[in-house]
Amino acid sequence: MLQHILALIIKEFLALLKDKRSRFVLIGPPIVQLVVFGYAATFDLNRVPFAVYDEDNTALSHLLVERFSGSDTFELVGKISRDADIQPMIDNKQALMVLHISPRFSDDLAAGESASLQVIVDGRNSNTALLALNYVRTVLLDFSADWAKQQQRPPPPAKLVMRAWYNSNLVSQWFIVPGIVGLLTLVVSLLVTALSVAREREEGTFDQLLVTPLRPVEILIGKSVPGLIIGLVESTFIILVAIFWFDVPLRGHIGALYLGLFLFLLANIGIGLMISSLSVTQQQGLLGAFLFLVPAVILSGFATPIANMPEAVQQLTLLNPMRYFLIIVRGVFLEGADIKLLVPQYWPMAVIALFSLSSAAWLFRRRMY
């Protein structure tokens, strides 16, 4: 019996890997995408183009502008001298932000009045706008604290001491790259499984498989193992790249990560095979794969937090295995989480895997066209 399954596994591997294009599709793009997305997917601001409209034009206002142009976050792209120039600058995306220093800026500051600084930000990308404003506020705080010290004014009676746990410099790569581990693992395991039964059905070879002495469970194992092995090998590679290339710290136990990875792969393979055995044609299989993949990625917490979603959508994400795996992979990498802390994430994936794998096996025989 073991021999039968082994033969089927070998046959599945051959079906996946013997075609040069199919082999390339499984191996090439995930690796390229890992590197590209690892650099591309960032919420950190770099070189935000800004322009200055300095009506004050004093040593003090120049000092303030230098605070911005000297940082890596901002890049001075132009100076303007008329109100009318602000609009085209922002509209045409030449600058994301315009600093408008009023003519009385340094006088007001010296007189102890509140000196006003106007900042105009392009809100087309609201997240960038919000972060840029936060940076501006921090720069201003530093600037006015230094100025007060220089003028020998008393410091404010309270101060804010901020720090961040797990990611002290708030590097968004540390958040995104572990997420990409989940993303690509999901894509690869779906690619391997979602079309595999549908293809055999369309070609008629699945009927032949069904009349062999193999039981549905054995067919299920034969169809799952290649996905599991390819998934484990590729994810291991991706995890290594995350650690050694992107320098994401791995603080927890690798065992906790692999337990999660194993359950995640099983859940994905189950869902992929379920889609595949539900569809009569490959076109339907592809459609099914997309229908699962796209919401699974967008509603997983990969880029936008689940906590920001409306209650009903949050409930829906409970069906998404990627949601749990992302918590595990980020927990193990950044928070040093152990198996005990992650139990609430493991069991839902195990339930999803069990349900989807058994429905796939059931559908093998029941779904005939």
Partner: protein, 378 residues
């Protein structure tokens, strides 16, 4: 093999369009893909995708409560952003943070009020969970804002010198409420329509090859251009239908302001649809079989459109090599046009270069489709 006619024949083209249209009508899955799928996806994602942190659970550690500490708590409680939870020791708060019960801690030590009254720079300790760096930063920004409001009131009330001599007057153009949905929904339209375009066409030619009906088509006097156009036209009509539905949803369901003209939006959408369909057709022709075509479509459409288009991650912040790479992603140009036409209006210096790039891509893809397709016919 018959000599293909060098001129386009309207009759043959009409016949081909008719054949494809019938095929679409008889297998309603294409119609579902074009009309139902984008509506369902935009509905789900439009509500699901948001970067606005609301009701962030913040643990307040107040070691010795008095009127000053309750003032601070009140200042934070007024804001919609926070949901304060009170703790009495820092250990309890840290444990809650480890268990993901709270996302941040504001810590007032027992001598806080004493140092505040003495003007000794009383420290307000803040810890945020930095795993999600973006949310961590946004939370820090909110906390900074609440703290500044409180301290300004405090110094005013006591007649102390201004704590913040510079007041920041901020204007966020196009989206004064800084509502992330207004920015994300136009981008979602582009991501969803990339998928629809690829799904519609990625398998249509591969299917004909695999079923052997391509040979049947080849022995007719049909010209390859007529064959390709016959495949494109019906799907273009379908795709534009889906596009109009999603745009209508963005405007009426999600209340995204449409400040530019509808005509600009329509022309840009048509250009983009052409690129997306041509890309799908190219995949289908090159892959030869449906299995590989399906795999390639999954890989080259969704994730690049999601991550490299500027839909959510700002292209300006990417390293320059990646920025160059984004120029190969058609969705990038469409996202840029959509965000501008919706939120800013008809800003020609943004719209024209992006539309030109789409036009160029459509041209290149169609040329490639034409070349790859003719080779195989010989």
């Amino acid at each position: 093999m018959p000599q293909p006619a060098s001129q386009l024949s309207r009759r043959r083209l009409a016949g081909m369009v008719r054949k494809e249209s019938l095929q679409i009508l008889r297998d309603p899955s294409s119609i579902a893909i074009a009309f139902v799928l984008p509506v369902v996806m935009l509905f789900l994602f439009g509500y699901g995708v948001s970067l606005d942190a609301k009701d962030v659970r913040i643990g307040f550690v107040i070691e010795s409560p008095d009127s000053e500490t309750s003032d601070i708590r009140a200042a934070f409680g007024q804001s919609d952003y926070f949901e304060p939870v009170v703790f009495h020791t820092i250990q309890a708060a840290e444990q809650a943070m480890r268990e993901h019960d709270i996302d941040g801690i504001v810590w007032m030590q027992s001598d806080f009020s004493h140092r505040l009254h003495a003007g000794l720079g009383a420290p307000l300790g803040v810890i945020v969970n930095g795993v999600d760096a973006n949310q961590g930063r946004i939370t820090e920004g909110y906390i900074l804002g609440a703290w500044q409001t409180w301290l300004t009131h405090y110094t005013e009330r006591r007649g102390l010198p201004k704590a913040f001599p510079i007041t920041l007057e901020q204007r966020v153009w196009f989206n004064p409420a800084v509502n992330s949905r207004d920015f994300l929904v136009p981008g979602l339209v582009a991501v969803i329509m990339t998928l629809i375009g690829a799904l519609l066409t990625a398998m249509v030619v591969a299917r004909e090859w695999e079923r052997g009906t391509m040979e049947a088509l080849l022995v007719t006097p049909i010209h390859i251009r007529e064959l390709l156009m016959g495949k494109l036209v019906p799907y273009f009509v379908l795709g534009m239908g889906g596009m109009l539905l999603t745009v209508a949803m963005a405007v009426w369901q999600f209340d995204v302001p449409l400040r530019g003209s509808f005509l600009v939006l329509l022309v840009a959408s048509a250009l983009f649809m052409l690129v997306a369909l041509a890309m799908g057709l190219l995949i289908s022709i090159v892959a030869k079989n449906q299995f590989v075509a399906g795999q390639v479509a999954i890989i080259v459409t969704f994730l690049p459109a999601f991550i490299l288009s500027g839909f959510i991650f700002d292209i300006n912040s990417m390293p320059w090599a990646i920025q160059l790479l984004t120029h190969l992603i058609p969705a990038r140009y469409f996202v840029s046009i959509l965000q501008t036409v919706f939120l800013a209006g008809n800003v020609w210096p943004v719209i024209l270069p992006n539309a030109a790039a789409l036009l160029l891509m459509a041209f290149v893809f169609l040329m490639l489709v034409r070349r790859k397709a003719s080779k195989r016919l010989e």
